[in-house]
């Protein structure tokens, strides 16, 4: 059994979680269609340390996990609010999407 530690619920069987894809930087809201399509659809599929969304199904809770895909180990998990502080204001399309841009992790 592989264990993933949920920031809310503690160590749990990874079967309680669903993978949610790479954490990606939201492009500016006035980006091109190609940039938006790449953001929405393309994955880097990195061999090495990746930052991913994971969903704890029993609590409907999205978290972020840092995982080494080469060594197949989970390095760190934390609440999404550590990266995403504010909502994106989609009513202001010319403004940069600062609120949804992940800060560098410590």
């Amino acid at each position: 059994m592989k264990i993933l530690t949920c920031p809310l619920n503690g160590p749990r069987n990874i079967s309680e979680f669903v993978w949610g894809g790479e954490v990606k930087i939201h492009p500016p809201l006035d980006c091109t269609d190609e940039e938006w399509a790449a953001y929405a659809a393309l994955e880097n599929n990195t061999a090495g340390v990746v930052r991913e969304w994971w969903y704890h199904v029993p609590t409907a809770y999205w978290i972020i996990a840092e995982r080494d895909t080469v060594k197949d180990v989970i390095l760190r998990t934390y609440p999404a609010r550590e990266l995403f502080k504010d909502r994106v204001d989609y009513d202001a399309p010319a403004a940069p999407a600062a609120g949804d841009t992940p800060r560098e992790t410590p």
């Binding site: 059994m1 809310l8 619920n9 749990r12 069987n13 079967s15 199904v57 029993p58 609590t59 809770y61």
Partner: protein
């Protein structure tokens, strides 16, 4: 049989299973509650002390969710603990904090909750911005798993360590039980080890069968709500 469970406005999710066990029903919140099964009161209480399951689905429950939900509830005089813990309220209700943004409110064993009546009467979209009700009577089934073998039996179905030494009275586990998402809360009944389990109502019959099957090796069996009430009334 005292009451036809299909005659009430709300259809109990497990009424066919409980009917087959010879249950005596009484109305609780418009739904048939299995008060006792075919054994006598003493025998059911002894069963509940050893290993039993009881359907608590008709009892009152609800909750609130949203970024301001916990603060709003505290403003209504509700005591809330840390995440995944439960706090007993003066009216006999219990409040389980499920996350920084959600609390579950469980009523008493008689089917009431003065606390839920009060906060549901106070809540409005305008006055409680960012706190939204999570109605659970129809979406969730609720059972009690009781008795000295309860933790050992649950270890067959659930990966979380629910043994009393690792899982305090009032602790909450939001996890997977028999491959279904469930909320498990330790809530001892007087001196008797017991857990609440709350899960999707659509899976009520599946979980009921799974739990009865799993408790077979401990001579576990279903009991009525009266046995749960009797154990809860005993001194801890």
């Amino acid at each position: 049989m005292s009451l036809d469970p299909a005659s009430l406005p709300r259809r109990a999710f497990l009424y066919r299973e409980l009917q087959a066990l010879g249950a005596t029903f009484a109305p609780v919140n418009g739904m048939a509650a299995a008060i006792s099964l075919r054994d006598g009161a003493e025998a059911e209480q002894a069963q509940a002390r050893s290993m039993a399951i009881a359907d608590l689905t008709p009892l009152r429950r609800g909750g609130y969710k949203g970024w301001t939900a916990l603060d709003w509830l505290r403003g209504q005089g509700v005591a809330i603990g840390e995440n995944n813990t439960t706090v007993d309220q003066p009216d006999g209700s219990r409040v389980a904090r499920l996350a920084d943004s959600e609390a579950l409110i469980l009523g008493d064993l008689e089917g009431g909750s003065a606390l839920l009546d009060r906060v549901e009467g106070t809540w409005s979209l305008e006055s409680a911005e960012g706190a939204y009700p999570v109605p659970r009577p129809e979406t969730n089934a609720w059972c009690a798993i009781t008795g000295q073998h309860a933790a050992t039996m649950l270890a067959k179905m659930c990966g979380v360590d629910l043994r009393p030494k690792a899982f305090a009275n009032g602790a909450v586990a939001q996890t997977s039980v028999a491959r279904m998402s469930a909320i498990v809360i330790r809530r001892d009944l007087g001196r008797t080890l017991a857990y609440d389990m709350i899960a999707d109502s659509a899976a009520a019959a599946y979980l009921w069968r799974c739990l009865i099957d799993a408790m077979g090796e401990f001579d576990g069996a279903p009991v009525g709500l009266a046995a749960v009430r009797a154990l809860a009334a005993e001194a801890a």
